[in-house]
């Protein structure tokens, strides 16, 4: 132990450790961004040498200029804010309902028997297939987007919450009962923490579906938001704005995934797979 500590404390080996962790181990390091950056450089180069006509794919520099222009006019921020609001209200509505139903079906056989079959049937309907019907019902108002996003995020959260609760180790539950834990205390101390890894997997899936659904819905039926911005730019052949919107989708996806990873780090530090420095 003391020998190891000494070894780790020696400056030369610490420097090497930092070097190693920067380039290989740390997920925040430089390496994950190498590939996107290379693509960006190649893209800019081929656009500058005329291999890529701007009507097919505008140069990254032009996309950046479009971003700057739209930021200055406030259009980008406004549309992004609207999309964000829609996405997260859908997640809130659909996610809360799914979590509540997942809990009640996981904890009560009666609840499971009366609703699970129905949910499994509805689950196989792709939520985007509902768009025509949703437009008939709600027009292109906010309700349509809220409904589609809520519907989309419901299933991954429901299924993973239900599954998480059902797979909590029954031996632990028996142990906790023998120490007098029951009801809410049993739930809070044993069942919820046991189900949490699975619930967070559900949340991660749900975030992906959330953006996908929202962007499709905004592209087809909206008068604001990022999807609308891309779609109206297409009508004027402003490919730079279309590409900008696509790049923003990529960043939003990455941000959503990253935020769940942070939640996992904070709440699942007991789990060997989520411990800091663990390779996933």
């Amino acid at each position: 132990m003391s020998e190891l500590a000494l070894l780790a404390g020696r400056p030369s080996s610490r420097k090497r450790d930092m070097f190693v962790s920067f380039f290989r181990v740390s997920p925040n390091g430089f390496v994950p961004w190498l590939l996107p950056l290379t693509v960006l450089v190649l893209w800019q180069a081929s656009a500058s040498y005329g291999a890529l006509p701007p009507s097919i794919l505008p140069a990254p520099f032009d996309v950046a200029k479009a971003a700057w222009r739209l930021t200055l006019s406030g259009e980008l921020l406004l549309n992004a804010a609207i999309s964000f609001k829609r996405a997260f209200s859908g997640l809130l509505v659909g996610g809360t309902a799914a979590f509540a139903l997942g809990l009640s079906n996981g904890l009560s056989r009666l609840s499971e028997r009366s609703t699970d079959t129905t949910i499994q049937m509805v689950r196989n309907i792709p939520n985007l297939a509902l768009i025509p019907l949703v437009i008939v019902w709600f027009g292109i108002g906010e309700e349509a987007k809220l409904f589609l996003v809520s519907f989309g995020v419901f299933f991954p959260i429901y299924i993973n919450t239900f599954h998480g609760i059902r797979t909590v180790d029954p031996q632990l539950v028996e142990m906790a009962r023998s120490y007098g834990f029951k009801g809410f205390e049993l739930f809070r101390r044993v069942i919820l923490p046991g189900a949490l890894p699975s619930i967070l997997v559900g949340l991660r899936y749900a975030l992906g579906i959330m953006w996908l659904t929202l962007i499709v819905a905004e592209t087809i039926a909206a008068q604001s938001g990022l999807g609308y911005m891309a779609m109206s730019a297409r009508e004027f052949m402003q490919t730079d704005i279309v590409v900008l919107a696509i790049l923003i989708y990529a960043l939003l996806g990455k941000a959503a995934d990253g935020s769940v990873r942070v939640i996992e780090r904070l709440n699942l530090s007991w789990h060997p797979a989520y411990r800091k420095g663990a390779r996933l």
Binding site: Q171, P193, W270, H271
Partner: protein, 261 residues
């Protein structure tokens, strides 16, 4: 404290256990058929038997985990009227999302306040020799250390009855010997009544005041172990008794098992 003084202390802190005509069947198969057993306060009883003989079922009934039995079970209070049975399982069953000390404090039940529980948990951890590991996650501990944490969790509430369902079965030989002396030490210090289910006759001989053998759902043998404590492992006088018990155990093979190749 001398061993004699410890043992008289033992008699005062434990619960008495009385079973009368305990019968338990699962569907058509009856696992226990009218078991009568009296255990005095502070006694250490080992229950041995073939697998499938019903010894674990008996233990689960005493621990209150199995209520679907016929017959009469009474657990008498010790002088301070606690009558809390605590169980140690073959697996440690620690909550992986709670630190070692939180796991031990868990043994005080849902009513305990956090501050008071942690103080008691700390001294229970010290008693099993893990006083400095309280802040760690259970999964970094070895199998033997996890079982010691489980023992601390069982003992933190100062139970007057501890039932042990082969708690050392999954440990390697050396860790096992260490755990046996730890168990004997805390039993002598705290004076609870202990009921240990085990496959290991030598373990029963080292620890128990009395060995009860279960055969096909009935008590086939009830033997007081007269050796003074502390007992030396592998002492010559053990040999004859061990031989006697093993012969009895081997003879008690249930008919269904004889045909298994």
């Amino acid at each position: 404290m001398s061993i004699a003084a410890l043992q008289s202390n033992a008699a005062s802190n434990g619960a008495s256990v009385a079973l009368q005509g305990i019968t338990r069947s699962f569907g058509e198969t009856s696992v226990l058929e009218g078991v009568d057993l009296e255990i005095s306060p502070g006694e250490f009883v080992a229950i041995v038997g073939q697998s499938g003989s019903g010894k674990s079922t008996l233990l689960r009934i005493v621990a209150g985990l199995d209520q679907a039995y016929k017959g009469h079970l009474s657990i008498g209070a010790s002088k301070d009227q606690k009558t809390s049975a605590r169980i140690m399982y073959q697996e440690p069953r620690l909550l992986p999302w709670a630190s070692v000390i939180e796991n031990v404090a868990f043994g005080l039940g849902p009513q305990a306040t956090r501050h008071q529980a942690f103080a008691q948990a700390r001294s229970a951890l010290e008693a099993v020799g893990l006083g400095d590991r309280g802040g760690e996650w259970p999964d970094v501990l070895s199998g033997g250390q996890k079982q010691r944490v489980a023992l601390a969790r069982a003992l933190v509430s100062k139970p007057d009855l501890l039932v042990l369902d082969e708690p050392l079965g999954a440990l390697d030989a050396l860790t096992r010997i260490g755990m046996q002396s730890l168990l004997e030490r805390v039993w002598l210090e705290q004076g609870f009544t202990a009921i240990l289910v085990t496959h290991d006759v030598a373990e029963a001989l080292t620890l128990a005041d009395r060995i009860v053998m279960i055969e096909n759902g009935r008590i086939a043998l009830d033997l007081a172990i007269p050796f003074a404590r502390p007992r030396r492992r592998g002492a010559v006088q053990f040999g004859e008794l061990e031989e006697h018990l093993l012969t009895a155990l081997l003879k008690s093979k249930s008919p269904s098992e004889e045909y298994v190749i």
